[in-house]
Symmetry: C2
Subunit: 417 residues, 2 copies
């Protein structure tokens, strides 16, 4: 039995299953009699010494956490820079861990968080503080290196394929005398994983989606409009999927909201309505469009069972790795076979994961650039398989948990942030 | 046993459960040994004599139809005008029915369709053709008069409440260092029923949605921005629901897409992103927004059990009314008690339903205009109760039916349309 505590924190955009990871972390740590604290709002909470005593949550809340979307302890968009530039921040992290007897730091996030976690691991070593920093994967963007898939992606992918399928039945019914083109905007700044997932909704050239616009393929408006026109002529309607990260061939985003987030990325959104207007004005068709935005990453009601199980598995493994004395690693998903889908969890060095972006392989995009290949389908299909519905109340709503979030008493002077 | 055939047609915007009504109509007609034809694309298909032989569909397809979204036989936005103006069209309808031995015409739609069905009933009588025209209710807008609720609305309402709840968990997790305001645009051109349904997601002033903008309440931008600002200060974030039909106090829509549909209505969409931009520019908060559009009315995967059962019940009743010799009526839902929710089906004269629009009672909107009252909650709650999930395939997608749609041989000369 260990006397050190475990600190768990969530980072970056949240998902439908990141709390399933949290629940698995808490349960596994408890089975090892390790006390769990959670940072409020990710690394920001660590710096502020704003910690939550997870032991104060009821057993019912912790059970319900496993099927609650969002990030129960709060997440953050706050990127720690290099060890030199943000040296004071890194030292503060170590101070907070020391003050609370934290020996295990589990950071649940994407690329940037893996990088932060890696640096925390390095600086703890440098300062001789025995902190085991372990990354835990999560992102609906599916762009983490090394791992076969990222927890959170499978559920967003299932949401996308199911919603696209359902909307396409609607458009098909309306097309004769009304809406002929439907534009569906998906998340994915640099990689078209969610756009590709929409492709699972249909088979063959006449089933929706008829056109997928990937961020990996430069947008050619003329060719796009010709394809939409030909599809309407042939099928009666046309369903278009477009990634928020669609770019012109000079690299500019087709639609930019204008702002920048904390990581310096442009805040996107709106390429869907933009394309809808282009189609309406140039081809004269009645067009509808949707931007699901946060709905696609928080739709716990439509979680993929595969994704749910993997989210739990990485949480359990992260604790086991910590207990086994590992640090500077991340549990990743290793695919052993496509069909039947078999996978296992294995440790990967954070240095290999941090700041690498997993792009879609070219072999996953159809030659004409507007669809997915069979190889892509083989990769994606198991990730959306299975259902993991939450329990519903008599009120018709899923029974999601809200934590009490009892704060741990502070031991250090305030830290300006 | 009757020798007359039954013609079923779908009209207007489709829903997650209109095919459940269709399946119930078909099954009930068969139990009376009545042959069923369906018009392809609603009244347009009748005028074109473009009819589908439903008897040619497999038993498996007809079973799956009950849990398939969209309008399996095709719908239309095509309004027949007065009996004088469109006299030729009405006569053609009678001709087509005569040619195919149709004695029962079941038209499944909203306000406009009830009007069309009523006129068909009148003209058949005038010309001495024994056609029993029965309306069957359907619309996600929930704006049909007389009936307690409209099949299709309960499922769209459940989708809205669940999606709003899930997205609000996401925003809560991101708010400290990122998104502080989330804007959710719902359908509802003139009546705020779906906007109100979003209100079911939260209780009390601090749970989302914090602001609902109803089409019934003139938009006051200054008061709105003040409320958003105060909510962010108090709660940490603010979730806003806005109806596509939001208007200024002079009656202009806050956002108009510019087009008009076949009924002369403006084609709306975009008030969500518009308000998001206003909040960002005026208050400086990071904002996300969603426009679910067709997703909210086709989300069969999240259908309400109440809605599903009512959609089937009106289909069954419509056939029973026809068999009993009734015409010019619509089966409507009569509420007998709120809790436990008890309801029955009863016939209402089409003349009472046609062209009346059921507005939200003033007593359903909170005094400040930004939320729902307890009376509204009592009305809405039972409509989203219960789940009616479709079966899923191994591929992780719901098993939805696609009809063969075998055409009935034409017997009349073509009709220019």
């Amino acid at each position: 039995m260990s006397t050190g505590k475990l600190l768990y924190a969530q980072s970056g955009g949240v998902t439908a299953v990141i709390n399933a990871t949290a629940a698995a972390v808490i349960e596994t740590a408890r089975s090892h009699r390790i006390k769990v604290l959670a940072a409020r709002n990710g690394i920001v909470g660590v710096l502020r010494e704003d910690l939550i005593d997870v032991g104060k949550e009821s057993a019912a809340t912790l059970r319900a956490l496993a099927h609650t979307p969002g990030g129960a302890f709060g997440s953050c968009r706050f990127k720690l820079k290099s060890l030199d530039t943000d040296h004071a921040h890194y030292l503060r992290l170590i101070e907070v861990c020391k003050a609370h007897g934290i020996r295990y730091f589990l950071y649940n996030g994407g690329n940037d968080s893996a990088d932060t976690c890696h640096k925390v691991s390095l600086i703890a070593k440098e300062y001789g503080y025995p902190l085991q920093a372990i990354g835990v994967p999560k992102t609906v963007d599916n762009d983490l290196a090394v791992t076969d898939a990222c927890p959170g992606f499978g559920s967003a992918a299932k949401y996308t394929a199911v919603s696209l399928l359902e909307a396409s039945f609607d458009v098909a019914a309306m097309a004769e005398s009304s809406t002929k083109v439907f534009v569906y905007e998906v998340m994915g700044r640099h990689a078209g994983w969610l756009a590709a997932a929409a492709g699972l909704a249909g088979h063959g050239p006449d089933e929706a989606p008829h056109v997928i616009l990937f961020p990996e393929v430069a947008f050619d408006e003329t060719r796009f409009l010709d394809t939409v026109k030909a599809t309407v002529a042939r099928v009666g309607y046309c369903v278009v999927v477009v990634s928020e990260g669609l770019r012109h061939d000079d690299g500019r985003f087709v639609a930019e909201a204008g702002g920048k987030d904390a990581f310096g990325h442009s805040q996107l959104g709106g390429v869907g309505p933009h394309l809808a207007a282009v189609v309406k004005d140039r081809l004269g068709f009645k067009v509808h469009w949707t931007v699901p935005d946060y709905l696609q990453r928080s739709a716990r009601h439509l979680a993929s069972k595969t994704d749910f199980e993997q989210a739990q598995a990485v949480g359990r493994a992260a604790v086991e790795y910590a207990v086994a004395g590992m640090h500077g690693v991340m549990p990743v998903i290793v695919r052993q076979s496509d069909a039947p889908y078999r996978w296992k969890i294995a440790p990967a060095p954070l240095a290999k994961v941090a700041n690498h972006e997993k792009k879609m392989p070219k072999s996953y995009i159809r030659r004409d650039g507007y669809g997915i290949t069979d190889a892509c389908r083989r990769y994606l299909a198991p990730l959306i398989a299975g259902e993991a519905a939450p329990p519903y109340g008599k009120d018709g709503l899923p029974r999601y948990a809200r934590i009490k979030g009892v704060p741990v008493a502070k031991k250090l002077p305030p830290y300006p942030l």
